[in-house]
Symmetry: C2
Subunit: 219 residues, 2 copies
């Protein structure tokens, strides 16, 4: 039983990684920088897109998006009204986007008219980490309301991301969460991680996030 | 590829369901009523245990717990100080508890001294739904801070649970969440669901949760 699982798992990851590399090549060929946006349900992934798209537009940067969710189009509808190209990607019972879903979603986007492509993953702190999508950067958003132990509980997520955003900082006192503990846990798991604190409802802290997103990859 | 996946998936579920039935038999034999506690990271699963255990003790009901998490013992430590039997169950990279993990965890518990066993699942709104553990009831906790579209996004979770708790109702106005929408979505997906609203930080709404937990199964 275990033997079969491991072999199939390896096949799944090999296929996914191959398609992820193809996605990355396609994005580069069209001048698209793709961002894999990860985090739990309600952490602020869609809110980040809502706030950052107009700010990027002011700088002459054109955004696009893929809205990933198990079911429904709640996020898709919120992004659509921003007036950018967006595709809804439902995973059904699957708990994460994979490279194949992104490949198909990207076919519905005018890649030559997009500079920054936000791929909003399914709200889930575990499963998406294993599935690369072909993005240039991976960003994880946690909110203070998830509790200040949320980082410690998910080492793989924070080791696998380039940027860590701590959102809803205004609510931290109300839930008794220590932002310093969250940030210290991020640094412990991933010393190279670029860390930002935001209140995305008010749009606070957005400048640092934009700088981090636009920074050249150091590796 | 797809063919192999489906076959292995079926095997995994068959094995899990068999062990889940064995767990259920063992719990019944020891007079234990097990509760599978589901919900996203930070929704209030551990907070519920913290508040409900003393309230149950006042009624002469003895609690026990299995603290499930991918990594670490944050929840375990919070439960341990309540003075009840508790076992930490780390899943590693797995995004959910399964019946086999629960079987082993239960071996570390004095089942004859436990009336109500809280099995706190990994914080995840998708994957745990498919893996029955042998519990008598399944309870899902969502918090208002997750956004009022959280229910709509997860039909399988709400169809598969008996009790739905909407927590952090005090923070709903701060994040602009409609509790009525959340409740309406729950009723739409699962008309038989028992729904409770709580502010577990203050312990508000706990009485209705206890009544729902102790109610005889109608089915």
């Amino acid at each position: 039983m275990h033997h079969i699982d491991v072999r199939v798992e390896k096949d799944i990851f090999d296929v996914n990684n191959r398609i992820a590399r193809e996605n990355a090549s396609r994005f580069r060929a069209h001048g698209v920088r793709a961002i894999d946006l990860l985090g739990a349900i309600g952490s602020g992934k869609t809110a980040l897109i809502e706030k950052i798209v107009p700010a990027l537009k002011e700088r002459g940067i054109r955004s696009g998006a893929i809205a990933g969710d198990c079911y429904g189009d709640d996020d898709f509808q919120r992004i659509r009204v921003l007036g950018i190209p967006v595709v809804n990607a439902n995973t059904g019972k699957e708990c994460h986007l994979d490279a194949h879903l992104v490949e198909h979603a990207a076919e519905g986007l005018p890649l030559d008219e997009i500079d920054l492509l936000f791929i909003e993953n399914v709200g889930n702190m575990v499963c998406p980490t294993d599935f690369l999508l072909g993005a240039e950067k991976r960003v994880v958003i946690v909110s203070a309301t998830e509790g200040d132990d949320v980082v410690n509980k998910h080492p793989m997520m924070f080791r696998g991301c380039d940027i860590g955003i701590i959102n809803k900082v205004d609510l931290a006192p109300l839930v008794g969460a220590s932002l310093d503990r969250m940030e210290a846990d991020m640094r412990r798991y991933n010393p190279a991680m670029k860390i930002c604190r935001t209140d995305l409802k008010k749009g606070e802290g957005l400048g640092a996030v934009i700088d981090a997103l636009l920074a050249e990859q150091s590796s």
